[in-house]
Every structure is written in C-alpha cells, then in structure tokens.
Symmetry: C2
Subunit: 322 residues, 2 copies
Amino acid sequence: MAEKVDLFIGFDLGGTFLKYALGNSRGEILFKSKKPSKGDQSKDAIFSVFYECIKELLVKAKKQGGTVVAIGVGSPGAINFDKGKLLGNTPNLPQWGNAQIRKRLEGKYGIPVWVDNDANLMALAESRVGAAKGYENVIALTLGTGIGGGILINNELYRGHNFAGAELGHMSIAYDGIPCDCGGRGCIERYASATAMVKNYIARLSAKSCEIPDKVTTELIFTRAHKGDREAIETIDETAEYLGAALASLTNIFNEEIIVIGGGVAEAGDEFMNLIWQAVQSRTMKPGLLGLKLVRAKLGNDAGMYGAVSLAIDNYYKTENV
Amino acid sequence: MAEKVDLFIGFDLGGTFLKYALGNSRGEILFKSKKPSKGDQSKDAIFSVFYECIKELLVKAKKQGGTVVAIGVGSPGAINFDKGKLLGNTPNLPQWGNAQIRKRLEGKYGIPVWVDNDANLMALAESRVGAAKGYENVIALTLGTGIGGGILINNELYRGHNFAGAELGHMSIAYDGIPCDCGGRGCIERYASATAMVKNYIARLSAKSCEIPDKVTTELIFTRAHKGDREAIETIDETAEYLGAALASLTNIFNEEIIVIGGGVAEAGDEFMNLIWQAVQSRTMKPGLLGLKLVRAKLGNDAGMYGAVSLAIDNYYKTENV
C-alpha cells in the first residue's frame, strides 16, 4: 500500500479575489488559482466560494494520490487565532464581520482549519519558503495601501495576548505627527506606505508648482527618480529615512535576525533597499546590527497563499504529532 | 530528617553599591544588605566583594536550615544570558567589561549562577512579586537617568536573538528628533527620562527668563507643579505625552496585558500616572486597550535584588526539574 501523502489547502481572501492553493508538506505549491471572492455579498455567498474551491482541490488532491489533512486561511481584519474567527469587521468585505471561518469549514469537511490575518501570513510565508527561510527571528513589513507587519520570535508568529499585536504599521515615528485613523499620531503607515509616498510626491510637486500627473503611482515615482526628477528622488529618500527610524526602533526592541520588506514599493529595486539599509544602520544601536540582514520579500502577491499553506502545515504537525 | 529548604542569592550590582539578598523559593527576601561595590576598581576587587557577600549569606542560609541552590546577578551593561557574562563595557564600572560572572562564581562555589541586566530584572521582579504579579505579558519601563525597559512574553523575559533586544529607551518617538548617544534620533529616553524632564523644565524657565534653581530635580518639578507653577505643569504634561506615544507604539506591537512604570519619576504620584494613561488611551488602537492596565512599580530600589532572586529561582527550577 502506498504511503499516505499529506496535502494542505491555503486560502488568501481579499475584497476582490479568493486565491487558493494546494501545497505539500514542504510548503511547495502544487496548484494555485483564484475566483472572485464575492466580497461585497453575504457571508454565505463568500463561504460558497470557499466550498467551490475546496471541492475542486479535494479532487485534485485525490488525483495526486494525496489527502488534504489541514486548511489554512488568511483573511483581512483582526483574527482570533485560537477560535479561527474574525474579531469585528473588515472594510473591504462589509458583511464578513465576525465570520466563524473555522467553525464553518471544519463543520462541513471535518478537516482542521487555522486562520490568521494576511500580514502575519506574509511574514510566515517568507520565513518558511521565502526570503527569510531558515531564520527564526523575523520582522516583516509590507508597504502597500497601508503598512502591514508580522513578527516571528523563535520561529513562531507573535500575535499578542489577545491577537491585537504586531500592528507594525501603527508604530509612531513622530509623537506630534500626522493623525492616523487608528487614533494615534505619526504612525509609520502615514509616512512610508505606497499611499503616503504618492501623497508626499504630489505635495513636493505642488510646493514647486510643478504639473501633477493624472495618475501618480509609486512605479511612476521610481521611474522618474531614475531619470533624475528631484522631487521623486527626495520622496524616495525621505521614505527610506522614515522606514529607517521605524526599523531601528524595532531592532532595538526585538534584536531580530532579518527584516523582510514586501509590497509593491519594495519591488522598486535594490537602490531603495540600499537606502533603507543605510538609514537602519545609521540609527540602530550597534549590538542589534551584528549579523542583521535586510532583504526584499520573495513571494510577492502569492505570499498570502504560501503563508496559509504554511500555517496549515505548522499547526497540523504541532497538533497531530504525526 | 527535615526537608531541604531551597534558598537563593540575588545580587544587584551598581557603580557604588553591591546590594545582596537571600530569598526563598517564593521570591520573598529573608535578608538584604549592601556593601560598597568598588566599582572603580579592578574586576578582582569587585569579585572580592561578591565573595564576601556570598560567604555571609551561606552562613545565614545554614542558620535558617536551608541551602543556597542558585545565585542570580543583575549587572549594568549588555549581558550574554546564555554565558552569564558581560558583552563589552559599562560606563559606571570601567574595569568590569567582559566580566565572566558565571564562570567566576560557579567556579568558586559550585552553585549555578544566572546573570541578566538590571532593566530586565526590574521587569522580572515586578512580574514575579511586584505590581505585575500574575501577569504573563508585561512591558516595564524605568524612568531614571535614562530609560530602561524589560519585556515579558508568555511569562518569560524577551532578550532578542543575541541579547541586544528590549532596549525600550531607544525607541524613537521623533524620526528627526534629538540625537541620542546610541546613534539614533528621537529616542524616548531623550524626552521622558528624569534627565530629560529636568532639561525640559530648565529650558521652559530659560525661555521665560525665570530664575533657575541651583538644583533642579524631578521631585522639585512635581512639588512646584502642585503649587501651580506653569512651566512645571507643562513639563509634566509633555512628558506624559511622550510616554503615551512610546507606550501606544509598544502596545500596538506587543498587545501586552500590563505596563509597569518604575523609577523616581513614577513615584511622583497618581496624577502623573493618570496623565500617562490618558495619553496611552488616546493614542493606542482600540483592540490593544481591551483589558490593558498601567500600574506603578512596587519594588522601588529593591527591584534589582528581587529580580536577581527571581532569575535564580526561575532558572534553577527550569534546569533542575526538581
């Protein structure tokens, strides 16, 4: 009789798409796809998309001679990891609030389910199969519309005592700085997210009465900087300083081994990473810099799926002791 | 035959005094005293003070019908916890650099020794027998000449992957703020330590051409504030805002259960603590505030000794499994 092959399902839920994947026990993705998530519809509608995907993946798993032994789910919003459910609401999926993800999926399939938020799963993915593979103490930042963060301590995700921790985008770098929706002031998200960069660049153009393009993106800023555009260069420089300040504080606190920077902005190129690294080096206490690495995320838009598969793997083997 | 009673020695080394104590397995202090630490002299001279204290405490332990089973040591400076030695130098004990505390004391007495830095031990002490007793996720700040910090996660001190973490005084609250000796800018220590408060108060007096007293202390600032001195009140208010900014970031990151504030400044009274708490509440993300407490440290100047005894207890029972 052939040995049973453990397979894992990973989901990455967003407002527009539900990405889904089948992975093996090494965290490799054997198959991936996506479906419209029906994020603007009811909980039942969104769960029905999950069911379709699971049905499809169970068939694929069988064809591969394997068995799906666990499911990992990444969802926007605050997640109660112990219960596998949402805590409150999430803006892009207006009816998804308090969704009992584990209860619904385990109830239907009898397969164990673990749920975490997307920022945590990006950090987990990079540490299991990405840019921080082999490192046990990791800080990960994703620079996007906002700034998401994840922390691994001794190879485990750090969530805080009631799952409200690791909000690295809401670390303040300016006690009297820009007010943030979170209630704080000077949150790094207001200074160094893609949104903030675009805003800062437009402000610099306005201040000099330069023409403002119809669509300003971080790509445009980096392209223009390469061509010598002064305001673009200054915007990138200041972003690196902001990130340097936040990462120096984080390193003084965590003394991690490696920092992973993800998101569209990080894909801009090595120069930007070098600027961030210079800022980190100039601001961090010397002992924390010993052996510290700063790297670009490797998994891009698939990080959430990889992370969900890794979450399922980690917790399945921890729980089952197989 | 009487049951063996486990007793523990705790040391708190400073530039001026070596404080020492004998404690029981519940972390209670049975006897405490201090001797001049000979901090300006050679390593051998300093160790000779340790030896005298141990000799005295071994006799006391025997008289109590107990046995000293472990020794805990708090020392200024960066400590390699795994090796029980200093990493580099420490300003107030110029010849104490790289001291092999465990090696020397274990070599002489055959009793297991654990060493940590004083900020960590303050946090440990408060969580074991002080203001945070019973809490497993603790942030502790000591406001003194500088700002020291300690972090307990799941009831364990967090040190970072090579013992350079938990430098909470060097979290930046102003990316373009006051340069710090550590190499960073805007470190909270430059804004809210006792030293910083005194500086800020003098600056406010100078700006208004008020007379500056010969000796400005935080006690003086608090006394004057009670009498309605405008500059003193403003100095205290701004200190609370600075601390609120730093603690909000820490709570967004750690989602701890309790924050302990120690040091002379914290002993100023409930009003100051209330101001800090208001600032924390207004700046922290709501989920992190659920159930969060902010309390004043309880053990005062004895925290180091209590922490050293607790360090010995924790690690002895962890190691020996008795």
